[in-house]
Each structure stands twice: as structure tokens, then as C-alpha cells.
Amino acid sequence: MNEFQKYLSKRVLFAIVSVLVIISFDFFLFRLMPGNPILIDYRSPALTRQQIEALSKQFGLNLPIWEQYVLFMKNTFEGNFGISIFYKQSVSSVLFPALYNSLILLLPATIIAIFLGIFTGKFAAWRRGSASDGVVTGTSMAIYSIPTFWLGGIFILIAIKTHAFPVSGMYVTGAVYSSVFAQLSDLLDHLVLPLATLTLVLFGQFTIIMRNSLIDVLQEDYINFAKSKGASDRYILNKHAVPNAELPMISIIAVNLGLTVGGAILTEVVFSWPGIGFLIYSAINARDYPILQAAFVIIAIVIVLANIIADILYSYLDPRIRYQ
């Protein structure tokens, strides 16, 4: 085993431990919420007391909480997330399509925001203190501080006035498509507004992070030393400053991925995008423990994975932390 493999296996071991801890938190967190799914079932006049108790038994909700916990951990390890209390079907059959829908929205939004953010952040940092820096930084700060639902609301308002884009869902309800391309174009139409909302919110943040990180780097001695070698501004920016400024960006992006999912919840709810955020929102209303637990386990795994990837990238880009 070489140094890198040692480093990697240690890192994966840590990741497994953190996922385990998160799964345990996950179980208790939702049971600390007031109310439970059975009480919600009591509202239904169609169910008798016996039926409700039978349901409760079926879902294991009559057991003592620690037994439920042991059962939950055992099932989670077997990859069995149980049955949704609200949808009355297996959690996986609800969760994975939603995860897929979320990725259609999240991946392009994050990637566009990162690239745009790096570009404008570079622009602003290089002209720091100038009027154009003021405009870029001010705008980014404003976009960053706008609540997602408000920005989404404004987009919906404009779209309804101008009939430009659909404002809700992923497809026209009940549509039958003549070809894959027709379906794709419908999807893209629906994607425009939520994508724009999410991209803008993330973009403001990434611009500010890149700008500040780059301004820190530009004050380093090695930047001045590169200038004393006769290097041009563009050369210094691209060869010395940006690679160093990107390092903190990588870890910040990985850590912020949790917030990205959070931001996606708001965007998805505002635009009724049938993704994992929207699912979490409705599952909380229904106290649908199995869905919530599974959704949070998935999100936790995604974030832990993203951090591992960030660490590997980091160790690849920064010789100072290689194989340690």
C-alpha cells in the first residue's frame, strides 16, 4: 500500500464513522418533532381505531423507541429504508426518482455558478477598490442576501406576466410526447426559472468567496516576487494567484454543498420541482419518518462523499498536504 492509498483508506474510514453518527442523529431528530404519523392518520374518518393500531404495528411505531432504533439501523445497513407512511410504497421507489430530478436541477446550477463565480471573482479581485469591483461585489452581495423564495417569487411574477416560461413542475401535467426531443424541450422550459434562481443565489456566494480568497493571495510575497521577475499581470493572475486562491474555494464548495441542498429545498418548493427538497418538505408535513430518515441519510452520504472528493482534489493540487 503506498502513501496515497493509506491516506485514502484512513479518509474513507473516517467518512464511514461520520455517516454512522449522522444516521443515528437522523433517527432521533425526527422523533423529537411534536406529533407523529399515527395522530395524523386519526384525522381520517375512513380509518377505525383498530385499523390505525394495525397500521401502527405494521410500521413498528408501537415498539419502544430503542427497539425501533435497532431495527432502523439493521434495516438501513441492509439498504432497506422501509415503507413510506404517507405514500404507502417503498421509500426507495419514491426517493430515488426525486433524487434524480434534484440532480437535473442542482448539478447544472452548481457548475454554472462555480464557473461564473470564479470568473467574476477574478475580475473583481484584480480591480479591487475600483468602481467595477464595487459594482460586481455589491451586486453579488445583494444577490447572495436575497431570500431564495423571494427571488423565485419575482421570477414567477415576471413569467406569468410575460407568459415566457412555465412556473411549476417538471413537465406539462398529463402531456404525451411525440419524441424524446419534445419531452426534453418541455423539461428545459420548466428548468429555466428554478435553474436561474438557484444559479443566481449560488453565484453571488461563489463570487464573494473567490474575490476574497484571491485578494488574500494577491498580497502574498510570492506574487510580488513573481512581479519582480518581470511577469505580466495576466501571467501572475493565472499562473500564481488563481491556483492558490482556488484551494480554499474547493473546501468551501464541499462544505457549502449542504447549504446548496438547503437552497434547493426552497427553490424546489417555490417551483414545485419534484426533487428531494420538495419531497422532504411534504414528508415533514406528513411526519413521514421513513422518507425523512432516508432522505437525510442520502444527503449526508452525498456531503461526506463530496468532502472526500474535495480532500483528494486538495491533496492533488496542494503539495503541502499530499499524503498526510
Binding site: 510575497d221 510570492y222 516576487f225 512581479k227 519582480s228 521577475k229 518581470g230 505580466s232 491556483p243 492558490n244
Partner: protein, 322 residues
């Protein structure tokens, strides 16, 4: 070789303009080690940065000229100034520990000036980088290392190798030994001296460390509060010092052989944001006269190029520069 005439450098700040350097008139000769001594705020780094054309954004040259072989480098267009940097004049930086980019290999950083000035291709540049590193006493195991894997002294040698690689005619060494232990510092000084003799380079050696400069330099300029106090040869400064500040510096050096204790110069360094009128050393000077408040920094010139900027010596042979 380098003629600095009437140089005034100003920093714009929130509290107004700061005159960081004023009345600087000095000729630096070819192939000498010219030492510049001063405490923090004396303008020594500003002088280095002005010669390099690397003043911070808020700094500018208000008046004066810096002629290198007859051409005023302050008048060069940015693109031309860039061609001078690293090629004709290079810099060994204050805090050399941080002068190297942490993400690049040593040999790549040393080779960089060759590639920036398009002197040669990458292979040849690397070959010459290794050659120069070897000359500096850094053997092959360091070539592919990253800066964090080297000691402070090794890093400083790599920085000097970078400054040397274009065979410049002038090297400015600004506090090159800061943060190094005394032994490493002594080795480094020997390297600089040898290089200077071998490659016929003019070295401008800048430090707050008066004994160090007096060991290194052929001639010395003493700066105080952005203005000159005294300029002279090593011998003139050490044994024929005229300016009270120079004398204070000499007396503040601890000597093993001497029976007397070193004497500190009383008072605080000058506040450059709000300097006193006339002689800037006046508030700390034991011999200050009332008329020092109106001193205009016209030097007293003693035997050749020994210049003293002090009111007490005024009235003798007068002249702005030779």
C-alpha cells in the same frame, strides 16, 4: 551606474499624503555593494520598490529620476519596465520564506524568469535553473522539491538563484536575511559577496541591521524618516561619522571587546505621517539646535563623496550633489 536624483515618493492614504521618500540624491557605482540602513518607516523598502517599479497601488513618484546606465527607468512604458524587471534588475525579497509559490516545484520557479523573458525553451531553462541552483549549493535532491520541503536557508538560496538566473547587472536585496538564524545568515552573506565578485553585479543591500550592512557594504547610505542622514564609504561611515544619528547607530551596537555598554538612541522612530519640520531626527537628537527646524537637507560634502545631512555641518562646502 544608478543615478538617483531628487527622488520623492508619496503614498496616498486615508489620512492624507505621506511623503515616504524625499531629497534622495545618490549615485550607486557599478560592481559595488551599496548598503542602505534605516529603521522601519525610514523608506528603505520604498526605495527598493521604486527602483523595481513595484510600488504598491497607493504609491507614486512625485518627482525625480532613477537613471540606470543613463536611461531613466521611471519614464519607461509599463511593457518596457517589465522587460527591465528580472532581467536587468532583480530582487531578493524581504521575508524570502514566503517568496516562493507553495504550489510549484523549486526548479520551475527558478527557471521562470527565463521563460517570462522568452530567453529560451523550457528544457534549456530547467537545465540552467539546475545549474544555478547547484552553484548556490543546492544539489539535485532539492530540484523537484516544493518550498515547504526545504529549510529557510535553502529557500533563500533558491530565491537568490532565481534573482541570478538572468545574469542581471543589479540585485536589490531587501532584508534578505530576516527570519534566518545567524549561521545561515552568515553563509548567505558569503554567497552574496562571492556572487558579487564573480559575476560583477551591483548589489543594493538593504537592512535595519547596521552591523550586518557595515560588514557587507562598500558604501552605505543611512536613511531616517524618508530622508538621507549620511552617505559615505564603509570607512567614512564607521570611523568618520558626522551625523548624530549615525553616531547613535554605531554606539548602539553591542561590542564584546568594549567595556562600555551599548547605548540606545532615545525616543521613538519618527512618525512619517506627521513629521517634524526641518530635520526629521531633531526630536531625538541630543545636539539639536532651534535652527534644525528649518533645515532644508542641503548636504555638507566632505572629502569626495562623504555627505552629511545635518544643520550643524551646513555652511561649509555646499551643493546638492556631485
Amino acid at each position: 551606474m544608478i543615478e538617483i536624483e531628487d527622488l520623492t515618493v508619496i503614498y496616498r492614504t486615508r489620512e492624507g499624503k505621506i511623503r515616504a521618500l524625499e531629497n534622495i540624491n545618490v549615485d550607486i557605482k557599478s560592481n559595488e555593494i551599496f548598503g542602505i540602513v534605516g529603521e522601519s518607516g525610514s523608506g528603505k523598502t520604498t526605495l527598493a520598490m521604486t527602483i523595481m517599479g513595484l510600488l504598491p497601488r497607493n504609491g507614486y513618484v512625485e518627482s525625480g529620476s532613477i537613471k540606470v546606465d543613463g536611461d531613466d527607468i521611471l519614464k519607461l512604458k509599463p511593457e518596457m519596465a517589465r522587460m527591465v524587471r528580472g532581467k536587468v534588475i532583480s530582487l531578493v525579497f524581504q521575508g524570502a520564506m514566503n517568496s516562493l509559490n507553495p504550489l510549484l516545484k523549486i526548479e520551475d520557479q527558478v527557471a521562470e524568469p527565463l521563460l517570462i523573458h522568452r530567453s529560451t525553451n523550457r528544457g534549456e531553462a530547467l537545465r540552467r535553473a539546475r545549474e544555478t541552483l547547484e552553484l548556490m549549493g543546492l544539489d539535485s535532491f532539492t530540484w523537484k522539491k516544493y518550498p515547504h520541503e526545504l529549510s529557510g536557508g535553502m529557500k533563500q538560496r533558491a530565491v537568490i538563484a532565481t534573482a541570478m538566473i538572468m545574469k542581471p547587472s543589479i540585485i536589490i536585496a531587501d532584508e534578505p536575511s530576516t527570519a534566518l538564524d545567524v549561521i545561515t545568515q552568515a553563509q548567505l552573506m558569503n554567497i552574496l559577496k562571492e556572487l558579487q565578485k564573480m559575476a560583477r553585479i551591483t548589489i543594493i543591500f538593504i537592512s535595519h541591521d547596521f552591523p550586518l550592512v557595515s560588514e557587507m557594504a562598500d558604501r552605505i547610505m543611512i536613511l531616517y524618516g524618508g530622508k538621507p542622514s549620511e552617505i559615505g564609504s564603509n570607512r567614512q561611515i564607521l570611523s568618520e561619522a558626522g551625523h548624530p544619528y549615525t553616531k547613535g547607530l554605531i554606539n548602539s551596537v553591542p561590542m564584546i571587546s568594549a567595556r562600555s555598554k551599548p547605548e540606545a538612541i532615545p525616543g521613538e522612530p519618527v512618525n512619517i505621517k506627521n513629521p517634524p519640520a526641518g530635520c526629521r531626527f531633531k526630536p531625538r537628537c541630543k545636539m539639536a539646535l532651534d535652527s534644525c527646524g528649518s533645515y532644508d537637507y542641503s548636504p555638507k560634502i566632505i572629502e569626495g563623496d562623504h555627505m552629511i545631512f545635518c544643520k550643524m555641518f551646513e555652511g561649509g562646502k555646499d551643493g546638492r550633489s556631485t
